[in-house]
């Protein structure tokens, strides 16, 4: 076991080295070399992560201490790595899916200039490093370092094509929205440190009884605020769809598979805090927000025409499902869904990237159609992704979504009903996307049709691997009634104690729910097929128009937050800054100028007047000396 502690630091260290090599040598390195470095370090991390995974499989958890990061009298925050089941699952997801996406990127980004190519890979490696730090940190402070690091990399990569100002704005939006959430996270960490004097997970969880009701509610809510920022939940979700400005592999890695699940990881890691009896109100808030996000984002995705926007809203919606599971206290289901979602969402994004690549940069699905004839591998893998996200048995999404729906059912029937409705919308919009893209007739220009081609093998191989994972990924969590053992829950038990059923449902009900939801998905899928088999361009009216415009949430934020802030800023700039502060500073300068101009007249250059002044001064000194003593 000590072997693991000796090499675990290599997992984040290797991507950091990759970042340094690619970042510093970007002008010298060839594309091939920086591609190999960029992907190779992540592959090496993946292999080490596999080793770590197998050594913690027996139920061991370890903390590797390196040095004291903060050392102020009694407060000691170590640079520690947490090596346990939860972190090892995330390590595998990050490095495994990350490696596939790196490989995919070598082909997808090949038209970039050599130094931009290396810059891209250095950012990607820095992201992987930060994400690994986030997951490996054994206290909230180290987690926060990674938390900020991934936010930074997200910003850098969304604005990767920085010559387009819209992309820059999207990057800034993502960064600022994340900052709002980060503030909540930071306050929660301060709160913990001030109450318990430590930020280490095991110390915090061991001393949870020292926290009062207000403390628990405050800390859990503030941590959740952090999670809403990073994981794109209401009210901070609007940055994620805009984040699609980045290159497609970035969307797949950062804005679908890994970074956005950081919030889930953080809450699952703090499950002992959230399971406390005091935190019931927080749990309710989380499930309501999660469900509302799932519904809202799914409804928006119904009417989007940009292939990446649909996937982005579907990501927001799936994250909502994960938060619903967290709110219902089923942390395992959330982590399970994170895993399966990483597989199929990365697959879908990479598939969409392959489509965009073939279409020469076109992202509008109304201009696609009939692509199945040209790109067979992309089409099949994309279909597998759609089936997985829709929750069709036996694809991976079925098991994870079923676990979430089941815990929602146990918790509250209304939550369950709405969640099933959101899941139906998921099926509908995914198949709408699929049919509009791949079936029917090609609706683009003649040039585009001529250009259509299957992507090179560096892009299709990751698709195939991810498709296989999307099919079999769910088998680690087969519930007991289907003859499985729910291995993932058993595996995570040392970190996440078994979810206790307050009012367990009978196996008959569980079967019924499973069949019911599957039929509901089937109906939604058929509905999507009927409606979108033959595409007719028509303008959306009524609700459709509202959905197409994303419920006008961006406009709402713009008018109630951005515009007032801007007018306040303008006011401060024009009145307070220019007239007030500048006026004061300039006034002091002017007064000194004027005063010295007046005083200067005393220096007339007449020797006589100087002598007169001197005599007057001496007389004054005499008078003072004689009379005022």
């Amino acid at each position: 076991m000590n072997n693991v502690l000796q090499i675990v630091w290599l997992i984040p260290f290797l991507p950091l080295m990759g970042f340094l090599i690619n970042g510093l040598g970007r002008k010298q390195l060839s594309k091939t070399f920086s591609g190999i470095i960029g992907s190779g370090v992540v592959l090496a991390s993946f292999i080490i992560s596999l080793y770590v995974f197998f050594s913690v499989k027996g139920g061991n958890t370890h903390v590797a201490h390196y040095f004291n990061f903060v050392n102020i009298e009694s407060l000691k925050i170590g640079f520690d790595f947490q090596v346990d089941q939860l972190s090892s699952i995330f390590l595998l997801i990050i490095t495994g899916v990350g490696f596939l996406i790196h490989v995919y990127s070598t082909s997808y980004m090949h038209e970039e200039e050599s130094k931009d190519f290396a810059k891209y890979f250095s950012y990607l490696n820095l992201f992987v490093f930060s994400m690994l730090l986030l997951v490996l940190g054994a206290n909230y402070v180290i987690m926060f370092i990674g938390w900020e690091g991934v936010g930074l990399c997200s910003y850098l990569l969304i604005g990767y094509w920085f010559k387009n100002n819209n992309y820059n704005n999207a990057a800034k939006k993502a960064f600022i929205m994340n900052r709002i959430g980060d503030l909540g996270f930071l306050l929660a960490v301060f709160w913990l440190i001030s109450k318990l004097g430590t930020a280490d997970y095991h110390n915090v969880f061991a001393n949870i009884s020292k926290l009062g009701k207000t403390d628990i509610i405050g800390i859990t809510l503030l941590l959740f605020v952090g999670a809403t920022g990073k994981s794109a939940q209401i009210p901070l979700y609007t940055w994620l769809p805009d984040a699609m400005a980045g290159p497609t592999p970035v969307s797949a890695l950062i804005h679908a598979a890994t970074m956005v699940t950081a919030g889930i990881y953080m809450i699952a890691r703090s499950n002992i805090l959230y399971s406390s009896d005091f935190a019931e109100i927080t749990r309710n808030i989380i499930s309501v927000i999660g469900l509302a996000t799932a519904l809202l984002a799914a409804s928006i995705a119904l009417k989007q025409n940009d292939i990446k926007k649909v996937l982005a809203y579907s990501t927001v919606s799936q994250l909502g499902f994960m938060f619903l599971a967290l709110g219902c206290g089923n942390y395992t289901a959330a982590v399970f869904h994170v895993m399966t979602h990483a597989f199929f969402k990365a697959l879908l994004f990479l598939g969409s990237g392959s489509v965009i690549h073939a279409m020469g940069g076109e992202q509008d699905i109304t201009k696609m159609g009939g692509l199945n004839k040209y790109m067979r591998i992309t089409q099949v893998t994309f279909l597998i992704g759609c089936l997985a996200i829709a929750g069709c048995p036996p694809f991976s999404g079925f098991f994870s979504k079923d676990a979430i729906l089941l815990s929602a059912f146990e918790h509250n029937k209304i939550l369950w009903g709405l969640a099933v409705f959101a899941a139906m919308m998921t099926t509908y919009y995914m198949f709408r996307l699929y049919f509009l893209t791949f079936s029917g007739k090609f609706r683009g220009t003649h040039d585009q049709e001529h250009h259509l081609h299957e992507s090179p093998s560096a892009m299709t191989l990751p698709l195939i691997v991810l498709a296989i994972l999307a099919i079999i990924g769910g088998f680690v969590g087969v519930p007991h009634i289907l003859g499985g053992h729910n291995e993932i829950a058993t595996f995570l038990q040392p970190v996440i104690p078994m979810h206790e059923n307050a009012n367990p449902v009978s196996s008959g009900t569980e079967y019924g729910l499973m069949i019911g939801t599957t039929i509901a998905m089937l109906i939604a899928g058929i509905f999507a097929f009927m409606q979108n088999r033959n595409f007719v361009a028509k303008e959306n009216k009524g609700l459709g128009k509202v959905l197409e415009n994303k419920w006008y949430v961006d406009e709402l934020y713009d008018s109630i937050i951005v515009k007032p802030l801007q007018s306040v800023a303008t006011f401060f700039n024009n009145i307070l800054e220019k007239k007030g502060i500048d006026g004061f500073v300039n006034g002091v300068g002017k007064a000194v100028n004027y005063g010295s101009r007046q005083v200067r007249l005393l220096q007339s250059g007449h020797v006589g007047s100087y002598v007169l002044l001197m005599v007057i001064g001496i007389l004054i000194l005499f008078i003072v000396q004689l009379f005022l003593k």
Partner: protein, 110 residues
């Protein structure tokens, strides 16, 4: 003679000197007025020294009597040195501006 006459004379001389320095523009006259002021001080020093020597209350040791008078010689020496420098300045000034009017020396103005 009482000390007050000496003081009165010294003040009169000193004020004459000051007024001369303040009002006259001729550098040589200003110079003479400065000398007048110096000599007023010399007069005072000598008078006070003599007064202390004669005073029945004061402790009239030889050093107390002679100190002030020695000082007077110092002042005279300094005054002589000053005359040498000052007259040289005045001569240079006359060579440059063909005048001994101090109001011509306002080149530092502005």
């Amino acid at each position: 003679m009482e000390i007050k006459y000496y003081i009165g004379l010294a003040i009169a001389l000193f004020c004459t000197g000051i007024i001369g320095v303040l009002t006259r523009r001729n550098a040589i006259i200003i110079f003479m007025c400065v000398e007048l002021m110096l000599n007023a001080v010399n007069l005072l020093l000598v008078a006070f020294s003599k007064m202390h020597a004669l005073s029945p209350v004061g402790i009239a040791t030889p050093s107390v009597v002679s100190d002030a008078q020695v000082f007077v010689f110092f002042i005279m020496v300094v005054a002589a040195a000053e005359v040498a420098v000052g007259l040289a300045i005045i001569v240079m000034m006359y060579r440059n501006v063909h005048s001994v009017d101090v109001n011509f020396l306002n080149r530092l103005k502005n």
